[in-house]
């Protein structure tokens, strides 16, 4: 092999090169070609060894007959080599230093959910929690939510989950945009309801932080409206039928449904908005869905209280309703307490106001059970 010349070009003799161009008679051509083929095969092997070792052959190698075969193989070998290096890189990144933004960005760009996707995301979020950078539940941030992790003991993040529903393409006037507010399972709702029954530990905000839901507030309020109206009337009917001598006629009081609906829905619509606005003014880091969520779930205890009021005794009605109001208010107030950080005096007054309002609502529910069917005086209002 002479210097400066590619190994392929100088490998074939002139005679051999002539054989490729029909300058020799046929029988000689065939034999030469056969020899060339054998030698090109060996050349191929040699070149492949060179390539796998990482050395490049020059372009002129591609021009000769054998070189074309080698060139083809070289490309394949190069591709194989490049793929193997990428694979190595991926393995290193998975095991060693993990750069979540890059990796997550890469996965988003691919826009395919590979099999490896969920597992790496899981790991990603697990590490993120260790770094203590859980996203806060702010409104309008559906993409920054919801991470999937196994429940760690009983305390943390059992109610967070992967954004199973894609939000990227939805606009604010689509129904699908609001799916991030309903990203809960039956188990989550059940556990959140159970949490409202014990005011201590007061970490409700901590639990719903990354995943406030509006399913609970809306349907608990609606259930409460119907329960108050229905049970109120049933209690009146039971009282009537056990006290036949009282001289009253029992008439179904459909006003109860109207009053209940007005009361509960207005309360749930107006008060949390005001409360959230004031907390925002006090520079507390509180999202509006979180406040709605807390208020909504705090109503949960009124539902069994109403059903208990089927017992037709005014005394028990008062006891049940006042106790229910106290329990619910305690839950609400104690959960607002950790938010107090700045401007303590004003915040304290606010919390007291919240408590008073909620207690008033709870106690007023006695009206549904204690009244005598219709309030003839109040109707004219």
């Amino acid at each position: 092999m002479t210097r400066g010349q590619s190994p392929c070009v100088s490998y074939f003799t002139n005679k051999e090169r002539a054989a490729t161009t029909a300058e020799l008679p046929l029988f000689q051509r065939n034999k030469t070609l056969k020899n060339m083929q054998e030698r090109s095969f060996k050349l191929e092997q040699a070149c492949m060894d060179l390539v796998v070792g990482g050395l490049e052959t020059t372009n002129s190698c591609g021009r000769s007959l054998a070189g074309e075969i080698v060139f083809d193989n070289r490309q394949k070998q190069q591709q194989h080599y490049i793929m193997s290096i990428r694979y190595q890189k991926l393995k290193e990144e998975e095991e060693g230093q993990f750069d979540p933004s890059v990796e997550f960005g890469n996965r988003a760009a691919q826009s395919e959910e590979s099999v490896a996707g969920p597992s790496t995301e899981k790991k990603f979020d697990f590490e993120e929690f260790h770094l203590g950078t859980a996203p806060a539940g702010k409104i309008g941030s559906p993409s920054s939510q919801t991470t999937n992790s196994q429940p760690i003991g009983d305390h943390t993040f059992e109610e967070s989950r992967v954004g199973e529903q894609p939000v990227a393409s939805s606009r604010i006037w689509n129904v699908e945009y609001y799916r991030f507010l309903f990203n809960v399972n039956t188990e989550d709702v059940r556990s959140r309801c159970k949490r409202t029954l014990k005011p201590f530990p007061n970490d409700f905000f901590h639990h719903i932080e990354s995943n406030p839901d509006l399913w609970g507030p809306f349907w608990i309020s609606t259930t409460l409206v119907f329960t108050l109206a229905a049970v109120g009337n049933i209690t009146q009917w039971i009282k009537f039928h056990f006290n036949e001598t009282s001289g009253f006629t029992w008439n179904y009081n459909e006003q109860k449904l109207n009053v209940a609906a007005f009361l509960i829905y207005t309360y749930m619509g107006v008060i949390p908005s005001l409360v959230w606005a004031v907390w925002k003014y006090l520079q507390a880091d509180l999202g509006f869905p979180n406040v709605l969520c807390l208020y909504g779930y705090s109503m949960f205890i009124y539902v069994p209280v109403s059903i208990l009021c089927l017992i037709p005794s005014t005394f028990f009605h008062w006891i049940f309703n006042v106790c229910g109001a106290m329990a619910s208010t305690a839950f609400l107030v104690l959960n607002f307490y950790p938010i107090l950080s700045t401007n303590k005096k004003f915040g304290f007054v606010l919390i007291v106001l919240i408590g008073v309002l909620h207690f008033a609502l709870g106690s007023f529910q006695v009206y549904f059970f204690v009244g005598q069917g219709k309030l003839s005086r109040l109707e004219m209002l």
């Binding site: 609001y178 309903f182 399972n185 039956t186 188990e187």
Partner: protein, 224 residues
């Protein structure tokens, strides 16, 4: 040759079919829609394996007819409540399913919820007929309770089968609970209508004396 015959046949046939739907007797036009409603109703109430297909072409005639019928049967005050509950309720239930991640088309779900009102309509009709002979006997209410409960259970059973398939597994109860609430509200309306014995009296109608001694303060429920 065969192709030529087909081409010739087509234009000749297109027009007669158009004329047929205009020319056909009114009864057959009506019957076509009624039979479609009936077919869907049958499949909704007694679900079979191929019921999914029956519901795919939704229509809102069925729900409207049942809602109207229920309002007429319950009468008076309650008619307004029926309309409000059915209209708002079906929309809210559908929105709830969609928001929970369900892959269900809006109108299909509204259609389904509306069709499943039929058992409650049946219960209302039976209750009305049962109350005529029984009148204002106080134990008549137990008949009402029985029929209303039966209608409720049937409605919920019919609609749960379709709706629960649309929503992810671990959220099934979250999607079904509003449906239960909806039919419970309608059954409650059927139940409280028992005071109307035969006529179209209002619920708060003063049948006997008692606390309706305020004469001119026309309580809101005393007339409609």
């Amino acid at each position: 040759m065969m192709q030529n015959m087909d081409v010739e046949d087509q234009p000749a046939q297109a027009e007669p079919t158009k004329m047929n739907t205009l020319d056909e007797p009114v009864l057959s036009t009506l019957w076509r829609d009624i039979s479609r409603v009936g077919y869907k109703l049958f499949h909704v109430l007694i679900p079979r394996g191929y019921s999914e297909k029956a519901l795919r072409d939704w229509d809102l005639w069925g729900p409207l007819v049942f809602c109207l019928a229920l309002a007429l049967v319950l009468g008076g005050d309650l008619a307004v409540q029926v309309f409000i509950i059915v209209a708002l309720g079906s929309i809210v239930i559908t929105l709830n399913s969609i928001l929970l991640g369900g892959k269900v088309s809006f109108f299909q779900s509204v259609c389904l919820v509306g069709y499943c009102i039929f058992p409650i309509l049946l219960a209302a009709i039976i209750c009305t007929f049962v109350n005529i002979p029984l009148g204002s006997k106080s134990w008549a209410i137990f008949f009402n309770i029985g029929f209303a409960a039966g209608g409720f259970v049937w409605s919920v059973w019919a609609s749960v089968g379709f709706l629960s398939a649309a929503v992810p597994d671990h959220r099934r109860l979250l999607a079904i609970y509003p449906v239960i609430l909806f039919y419970a509200a309608l059954s409650w309306l059927v139940l409280i209508s028992y005071k109307q014995t035969g006529g179209r009296g209002t619920i708060g109608g003063s049948s006997s004396s008692g606390n309706s001694t305020t004469p001119t303060n026309g309580t809101l429920s005393n007339g409609l």
